[in-house]
């Protein structure tokens, strides 16, 4: 009965969605409203982006400029959404222990937070050797690659979100190779929670700086007063880079926080 109802609901939704397809602009039509604006006069914002991005921001990649500058207010809140997800999962899943238990777990974490612990208590040594050795090679390169992606948001598709994902993946690999303890030894729990908050703070803080130069929020052009080089356009470019760093911090730490909490049901012990 429920399934029947769900099927009917889905079919109706699909029918309403498809109902409008007839009126859609042709695929890739250069004169469609999103591409060139409505025929009635006003120019579409996408035209403005394509024509003026490099003049306004000195950023060759239009997507990065739209994401972090023109619509930076959206991206600020998207970063906040990621922070929210991390905090919410932590608040729901994390098992908080009493004081007397905390002491014992503290010593345990210290014990396994050294080098890649290749031998575990439950006889997984062989597995840890192969994966651990491979990850010893892969993880530093992955982290380097992550920083490269963050830094290359300007000329190529990249930036804070993507680079943050790669960085977060490198920490997850660390946890998979040497046990969660070995990854937590490098990025402690209170550290990643603070880092996630710090990322959003950096983003919003860079935006807030422009308020002190009597400009609107997130107007990176105001930063030219601080940077003293390259005029407003270069200031925008640098502002975008700073913002991407903040995004990357949040994404990295939230990814690792999600993995750590979900894979161990909030215990932060054992895990995958």
């Amino acid at each position: 009965m429920q399934k029947l109802f769900a099927t009917i609901a889905v079919i109706i939704t699909g029918a309403i969605l498809l109902n409008a397809v007839e009126d859609f602009p042709r695929f890739g039509d250069p004169h469609s409203p999103p591409n060139s604006g409505v025929s009635g006069g006003s120019v579409s914002s996408s035209v403005h982006y394509l024509q003026n991005t490099y003049l306004d921001t000195r950023v060759p990649n239009v997507v990065t400029a739209v994401l972090a500058d023109y619509r930076g207010y959206d991206t600020l809140f998207e970063t906040a959404v990621i922070l929210t997800a991390g905090i919410a999962v932590f608040a729901i899943l994390r098992v908080v222990r009493r004081k007397d238990e905390e002491e014992s777990t503290g010593s345990e974490e210290k014990a396994c937070s050294g080098e890649f612990s290749t031998s575990d208590s439950d006889g997984e040594g062989r597995h840890r050797v192969v994966v651990g050795t491979a990850c010893r090679v892969v993880v530093p390169l992955a982290q380097l690659f992550g920083f490269y992606i963050i830094a290359h948001g300007h000329p190529s598709p990249g930036g804070g979100f993507q680079g943050g994902v790669v960085l977060g993946t490198s920490f997850i690999l660390l946890a998979l190779a040497g046990g969660l303890g070995s990854a937590l030894g490098r990025l402690r729990e209170d550290m990643y929670l603070r880092l996630a908050c710090l990322g959003v703070f950096i983003y919003a803080g860079i935006g807030l700086l422009s308020l002190f130069f009597r400009r609107n929020f997130l107007d990176y052009g105001a930063l030219s007063g601080l940077l003293q080089t390259g005029g407003e356009e270069m200031a925008r470019s640098h502002g975008i880079f700073g913002v991407e760093l903040g995004v990357a911090m949040t994404v990295t730490s939230v990814m690792f926080a999600l993995f750590a909490n979900l894979s161990t049901r909030g215990e932060l012990k054992g895990g995958l």
Binding site: H127, F145, P157, Q162, V165, L176
Partner: protein
């Protein structure tokens, strides 16, 4: 025939050759088989990304995608292996797999 046409042909051939791996994902019989198939498809997607880059003439851009994808694919495979190993040891999958191996042996 230019190299771009050749690249398109290679891409199509790769897609066609992925079908056996897809079949393995669909048919199973065990979860591990599906993961092996998925891992294979993932590796080939890395190659496909490079090929798409060649076809569009933007290899320098797509090569980053390919590297990222390979990294994520690797992490996914390792995570799946670790996760299912725990499951098997707890005896959740055993009931179905023992029947399968009986069938294959017979």
């Amino acid at each position: 025939m230019t190299f771009e046409h050749f690249s398109i042909g290679v891409g199509v051939a790769l897609l066609l050759l992925m079908i056996p791996a897809m079949c393995r994902i669909v048919m199973g019989p065990t979860t591990m088989d599906r993961i092996v198939g998925a891992n294979m498809v993932g590796t080939k997607t890395t190659v496909l990304l490079v090929i798409i880059g060649v076809i569009f003439g933007k290899v320098d851009m797509f090569i980053d995608f390919a590297l990222t994808y390979a990294l994520l694919n690797f992490t996914g495979a390792i995570a799946a292996a670790r996760y299912l190993r725990h499951k098997g040891r707890r005896g959740i999958v055993l009931a179905s797999t023992s029947e399968e191996s009986v069938c294959e042996r017979a």
